[in-house]
C-alpha cells in the first residue's frame, strides 16, 4: 500500500455537498461513493441525484434518516439507475419518488460488500485503494465543533450516527489518518473534510464500512 493515497488526486471525487437541514447523510454518502466508482471505471465524473435516493429508497425515511445498508440493498435489489443531479435536484426535504424512463442515462451498482474492519484497518485501506472510496458510519457527536487537525480523542465507537465517504488516507506523518468526505458544506472542517486517526477505530470508523462495485 502507498503511504499516502487520495482518490481526489485522481479526479474521481465530486465536490463536497451540503445536506442542509435534511438528515440524509446516508444518501449523500452512498451517492458520493457511486459517483466515484463510476468515474474510476472511466465514466465522466458527475453529480448524481441524492434527492432520488431520499425520495425513492422506500426502506429508508428520507430526510428523517436512513441506513447506508438499506440504501445499498435498495440499489442492488431494484437495479435502479441514479440519474444526474441536474435532472432530479436536491431540495433538502423528502418528496414523492419520481420515476424515469429506463432509456434515461443513469448509474446503477453491480454489487456491494459490507464489513466490520475493526482491528483490520489495513485491509480497509486495501479495499479503498483497490475498489474506490468507502462508505462508513461514524459517531460524529464531537464533529459539531470540528475545525481541523486529526481527530484522535473525544470520539467514541459503538454509537454510529453519521454516514460519510472515506476517500483516502495519509500515513506520512507521525499520526496516520483517514481522509473523510462529509456532507456539511465546504465551510465545515478542512474544506468539508475531516481527518480521523487510522488504526484505532476512532469514532467507530471501521465498524460499518461498505465497498461499491459497478
Amino acid at each position: 500500500l502507498p503511504l499516502k493515497f487520495d482518490w481526489r488526486d485522481k479526479h474521481v471525487v465530486t465536490p463536497v455537498r451540503n445536506q442542509q437541514a435534511c438528515g440524509g447523510c446516508w444518501a449523500f454518502s452512498v451517492v458520493g461513493a457511486v459517483e466515484s466508482a463510476w468515474a474510476i471505471k472511466g465514466q465522466p465524473l458527475e453529480d448524481l441525484s441524492v434527492q432520488q435516493m431520499i425520495d425513492c429508497s422506500f426502506n429508508n425515511d428520507g430526510c428523517s434518516g436512513g441506513s447506508t445498508l438499506n440504501a445499498l440493498l435498495w440499489m442492488n435489489q431494484t437495479r435502479v439507475k441514479l440519474v444526474y443531479d441536474s435532472d432530479y435536484p436536491f431540495k433538502a426535504r423528502s418528496g414523492l419518488c419520481r420515476y424515469f424512463s429506463t432509456s434515461r442515462p443513469g448509474f446503477s451498482i453491480r454489487n456491494f460488500a459490507a464489513f466490520d474492519y475493526s482491528d483490520k484497518e489495513d485491509e480497509m485501506a486495501k479495499m479503498l485503494v483497490t475498489f474506490g472510496p468507502l462508505v462508513a458510519i461514524v459517531d460524529a457527536v464531537s464533529w459539531q465543533d470540528y475545525m481541523g487537525g486529526i481527530i484522535q480523542h473525544h470520539c467514541s465507537r459503538g454509537e454510529a450516527n453519521h454516514a460519510v465517504v472515506i476517500t483516502g488516507f495519509d500515513k506520512t506523518g507521525s499520526i496516520p489518518y483517514w481522509i473523510v468526505r462529509n456532507s456539511w458544506g465546504r465551510s465545515w472542517g478542512v474544506d468539508g473534510y475531516a481527518h480521523v486517526k487510522m488504526g484505532s477505530n476512532i469514532c467507530g470508523i471501521a465498524d460499518t464500512v461498505s465497498t461499491i462495485f459497478v
Binding site: 445536506q19 438528515g23 447523510c25 459490507a114 464489513f115 465543533d145 475545525m147 484522535q152 450516527n161 456539511w184
Partner: protein, 84 residues
C-alpha cells in the same frame, strides 16, 4: 436555517440560540484544553453549528441508522490478491 428542521418542542428564539452559542464556546474550550500540545490533534471552534445545542445538532444532522456488519473474513483478503 438548520433550526427550521427542529421538532416543535425546540422552537428557536434568539435567547435560546445565544445560550446554545455560549454553551458551544464553553464546550470548545474544554475540548481544546486537552492534547493541545500535540501539533496534529484536532481543534474545535465556532462554525455553522455553534447556535445549536448538541441534542439539536444530533436530531438534525446525525440521522444515520447503524447496522451490525459481519467481520471482514480472511478469505476475502486472499481473493483480493488476485485483483489487478
Amino acid at each position: 436555517r438548520p433550526s427550521a428542521a427542529l421538532p416543535r418542542t425546540w422552537q428557536r428564539n434568539p435567547e435560546r440560540e445565544a445560550a446554545a452559542f455560549r454553551e458551544s464556546l464553553s464546550r470548545q474550550r474544554y475540548l481544546n484544553s486537552f492534547f493541545s500540545v500535540e501539533n496534529s490533534s484536532a481543534f474545535y471552534g465556532i462554525n455553522q453549528f455553534s447556535y445549536l445545542y448538541p441534542e439539536e445538532f444530533k436530531a438534525i444532522y446525525l440521522r444515520s441508522r447503524s447496522s451490525r456488519f459481519p467481520r471482514h473474513p480472511a478469505e476475502v483478503q486472499m481473493s483480493l490478491l488476485n485483483v489487478s
